[in-house]
Symmetry: C2
Subunit: 239 residues, 2 copies
């Protein structure tokens, strides 16, 4: 659903947003008039793997998951995204197709820039291109760490690693629960295991007094205790 009333980038509070941080120039002020604002309900897929690229999305408000579909329809969730973050790699270039799918996990407002607008921005504003380059380099590093984790960690470690990732990215509320509610299946699809294994691991961690949980809500009792469990894997952690 495309809204006519755009969110004004100048009034936006997402200080980490690449666009927000590069608003000073006159060109950018012109460019942001050309963006589309899209509203998504929970569990709505707004990028489909294999479909022609339709530009880049920024999350104005909400949360989403980025994934690739594998054999027998099995999903591999690559990352979760929140306010101010980017979805739709390579939403530039010509005649390309998306290499990932994206689905909102709660009601979400998206800012969309078409290929044409994006390309013009990148050509005219080198500092923006530079920031995009840094963004991709960071993501690449994160992804490469994930390759190592999935290849080398046990199921228990992968689940702990995932919960700590969610904690870093979304934080926790006053009650000590993570600011994101995922199904066991989604946790499994990110961690690279099955939902039963996630359930078993979470049960164990509760018994060991490392976690609390009520339905989908998960809370970490003591972050450093949890970190200890996977510390051997993270000599050089940087994600």
């Amino acid at each position: 659903m495309v809204l006519k009333s755009k969110i004004d980038c100048n009034a936006c509070t997402n200080t980490d947003c690449l666009i927000k941080r590069n608003l000073s120039s006159a060109i950018m002020q012109k460019m942001i008039q050309l963006k589309n604002t899209v509203k998504c309900k929970k569990n709505q897929q707004f990028i489909l793997e294999g479909a022609p690229v339709n530009g880049l999305y920024f999350i104005q408000q909400g949360k989403a998951k980025v994934l690739k579909t594998g054999i027998y329809g099995k999903e591999q969730i690559l990352r979760f995204v929140k306010d101010g973050e980017i979805i739709g790699h390579r939403g530039f270039g010509i005649g390309k197709n998306y290499t990932i799918s994206a689905t909102s996990i709660e009601d979400t407002i998206l800012c969309n820039f078409t290929n044409e607008v994006l390309n013009e921005m990148l050509q005219k504003i080198p500092s923006l291109t530079y920031e995009f380059m840094l963004f991709y380099a960071e993501e690449l590093n994160r992804s490469e760490n994930k390759v190592k984790s999935i290849a080398q960690m046990t199921v228990r470690e992968k689940v702990i690693d995932t919960i700590l990732y969610l904690y870093r990215k979304f934080g926790e509320n006053q009650k000590g629960f993570l600011n994101i509610n995922l199904s066991r299946q989604e946790i499994a699809d990110f961690a690279g295991t099955t939902d039963e294994q996630v359930i078993r691991t979470i049960s164990s961690l509760k018994k060991e007094n490392l976690l609390i949980s009520q339905g989908k809500k998960i809370g970490i009792k003591n972050v450093s205790d949890l970190k200890k469990e996977i510390s051997e894997h993270n000599y050089f952690l940087n994600s």
Copy 2:
């Protein structure tokens, strides 16, 4: 070993090299005078994970592996690199440390650009920055495909996937052998399994007339037959 006699970028034949493709400007001609040429013997580590960043490397000639070291010293090889390709992500920025290690797998000549030179290049030549951004975006896509593969494939499939990757990247010689010789351990470290499993898989594939091998040399009998084995994983393949 740093050589005094630099390889002249203008005379270089690596047409895919980002530097080579952006030589036209006067600034670049000045910048390439500032590069270092480094010679590596086989099995020499020239980037150490965790060490302060010392710029970016291009392979002028040779081959190398890029890896992260995991638990109990287990290596995860992330990719192999050949003539014209880049090693040392984020060899820019200040006060950062390398997040990967790199080791030559045959005698190799490297072109090194220091942080300062690289930063100046990226600031003054937007088209170069743009190409770097595209490079990272491509690598990110490749890495995310690898996450999915490692998470979902069986050992047999991972080994086949690895051999096909090596075929795409390095090609084969007149005798039908891949233009790269790796130990079983290295194949395992890339595929995300153990050397015994690689050996077993290769033995089976030989018996099934899908592969030939003599020592480290591996050849593919029929590429499309091998591709069939993993086709179910690659609805949207793009790496």
